[in-house]
Symmetry: C2
Subunit: 430 residues, 2 copies
């Protein structure tokens, strides 16, 4: 085999990027992999839609089945997104003996287990570098480069939209709604931004990374998710004053016989490498037991960056076809070396708590008592002077159990000295 | 084949790390690659030497030839370093049909061309992830993850010793000799630190990265090298005042029909991700034409970090043996898509120039005239007040040609107003 024929399903932003980049870098790609990559057919919803000049309209069809059954298609690239049609596209391609490249994080997070089992049964490949971290080769790093390591911790900034919003809130001193509007103006936020700002997209990606790290396809039920929609500028400012920045992190940890998988806004030290990741950039910080700390940084989205990952996967598939080495690096390899995911109530981390209390004797003492009685040790307290009767109170704790903290806050909330309900954020000392 | 038998040649720091980490993570590694990795023989210089308890003394031999000819050795790991014995070890292993894993950057920089040709002829593998960036999977990222990209630029902090020294000089406000002593005390500097501080080690690694980026094994002649031995604390301070930090960088660029490969202390903006890489950490910043900017960060040295890379390579070799897919990703793939390396005289970059001149009329004008007449445009000038007759003068230039700058400095040096010979450093706007 000297050339590999590609069937594209979907030709939106990323699909056009793949066509474009393959077109411009064809000579280099052929030289590097010793094979020719060639797009032979492209399934789209609307043939008449205006497209980039690089897309050869002769290759367009609305008939997905035709692509999946085409004798001249060696590999199917699924770029339509979502979990319905995409799921059947990937399933049928594998059933037809065609390896698959996909950028679809939601599909893998929800249905990875079933799709990987099918790929194994068919002795075929699913590659999905573009599903996490855009163009950053983090899946390859985790599956291959770091393969000898037990992964102790992963902290990922995995959603460019959220990271842009958080960067703008802090640097521009603007509130969430204003930063979201700016993101939309720059084309960084969708018309319905929920999947980004409520943490769903980050959770899909975190679930995939956690599954690769721990050899058990975890799905979405394992992931605790809290987005940034309700994040107040005030908390970003307070964090900064205490030497922290707030990032939406995917957090994966292995600790004493259990694993944790969670997504939430997190205070991290300003001095950490991850705190310097701004705007739409993504980064994944990984600690391996023998490697130590490493970080992978790059553009988390964008047509060309994502196309870079899709094309790298296509090279891997092409080489597997050439060398008849399908499944050489399994799409996912299950093993049972780790224990199950711990309930969110049972995690222990440090916490940031903000509330407003009445300016009257014993108000602070009441709060401090409730926290102390719950066995939670306070690391810092800032009570600022206020001209009103409502006094802002900012506390950070030492390591504490989530359930204990939540119980203490529920009790505080019921006190008549409390003016605004306590805000709770988690901290990580990276 | 269910198990892969490893012959280690060399069992010093890194070799012991490999034995140790394979020992502790055996179950995980076997699960991830579906094969058992097993060390069957270890060639050392001195069998009697005291070793870590993990090293099974029954496996030791002083007979390297025995390892290379052993019917039970499927892959040879070369960890003795240097270019003499190591070269013959790698050559004979390949001639005997055994793939090789090595961490030897000097060997590859000087003899890569010949060794890769032999590997190709024998249809065998050389893997060398540990040769660059310690445990960071940067070779895999460049050869596979970023394969669809023309590499526009690479900036690498590739020597932990130098980065530690530079970090300590800046943060500790101490001079080079003092920082070097600290490095030695921490075990970060060899008894003879020349290979590190004069830039040789960084140059070996830079040559390897450049060769992978540009498809031509460049060797060492292509690399311009300047180390940090003569770097003055004063220049680190001046740089900092102007918003820059000084790092020893390996620089690889593709510009208008030519490539550049150079190693020298470099002023980079404090705000760049690379400027935040401190202590013994390494990082490689890569700009690809479709991916955009990415960075790979981690421990550049240390027994376990390096062992992580060696073991990842061993997994790749094991999979190639299992799937009979040797040379699936060629150790090095030659192509002729780029032009040759530009002479250092012809590069254009920005420059930092420091000198001391006489405190008398027209001294600054004389200097400025010479620079201007050479067609060099000055970006900034700082002339500080001084109590002596010798006035420190710090200038930065806009983009200028190296030969022009050198000629201007030679002319300045010959003026009687010059008290100390000009210091010349290069800048990069990352």
């Amino acid at each position: 085999m000297k050339s590999v024929k590609i069937g594209l399903v979907g030709c939106g932003n990323v699909g056009t990027g793949v066509v474009n980049c393959l077109d411009s870098n064809r000579t280099l790609i052929d030289a590097r992999c010793g094979m020719e990559l060639e797009i032979s057919v492209i399934a789209v919803r609307d043939i008449e839609k205006r497209r980039d000049a690089c897309v050869n309209t002769d290759l367009l069809t609305t008939d997905i089945e035709m692509v999946l059954n085409h004798p001249d298609v060696d590999v199917v690239v699924e770029l339509i997104g979502g979990c319905t049609t995409a799921r059947s596209v990937v399933t049928k391609a594998l059933e037809n003996g065609k390896p698959v490249v996909t950028a679809n994080k939601a599909l893998l997070a929800y249905h990875g287990s079933e799709l990987f089992a099918l790929a194994a049964k068919q002795n075929s490949d699913i590659y999905y570098e573009a599903a996490v971290g855009g163009g950053i080769p983090i899946i390859k790093a985790l599956r291959e480069g770091l393969a000898p390591n037990h992964i102790n911790r992963v902290y990922g900034i995995l959603n460019g939209t959220c990271n842009y919003i958080l960067t703008r809130m802090e640097h521009g001193n603007i509130d969430f709604d204003c930063a979201l509007r700016e993101a939309a103006e720059h084309g960084y936020a969708e018309a319905d931004p929920s999947l980004d700002i409520d943490g769903g997209d980050t959770a899909h990606k975190t679930s995939i990374l956690a599954s690769l790290a721990y050899g058990e396809w975890l799905g979405m039920d394992a992931v605790f998710v809290e987005g940034i929609r309700d994040l107040a500028l005030e908390d970003i400012r307070n964090a900064r004053e205490q030497g922290y920045r707030i990032k939406l992190l995917g957090i994966i940890k292995h600790e004493t016989n259990s694993i944790q998988v969670r997504v939430h806004p997190t205070l991290i030290p300003v001095s950490s490498m991850l705190a310097k990741v701004d705007d739409v950039y993504n980064a994944v910080w990984v600690s391996g037991d023998i490697l130590g700390e490493s970080m992978y940084y790059g553009p988390g989205a964008g047509a060309n960056a994502t196309a870079s990952a899709v094309l790298a996967d296509l090279i891997d598939v092409a080489l597997n076809l050439k060398f008849e080495s399908a499944h050489r690096v399994a799409a996912f390899r299950r093993h049972a070396l780790y224990n199950t995911v711990i309930a969110m109530d049972e995690i222990r981390c440090r916490y940031y708590i903000r509330m407003a209390i009445d300016d009257r004797p014993n108000a602070l003492a009441t709060v401090a008592h409730i926290i102390g009685d719950a066995g939670i040790s306070i690391a810092s307290v800032v009570q600022k002077e206020s001209e009103s009767n409502s006094i802002p109170l900012i506390m950070t704790t030492h390591l504490a159990r989530e359930a204990d903290v939540r119980a203490a806050l529920a009790q505080i909330r019921s006190q008549d000295i409390v003016r605004t309900a306590p805000v709770l954020l988690r901290m990580e000392d990276i």
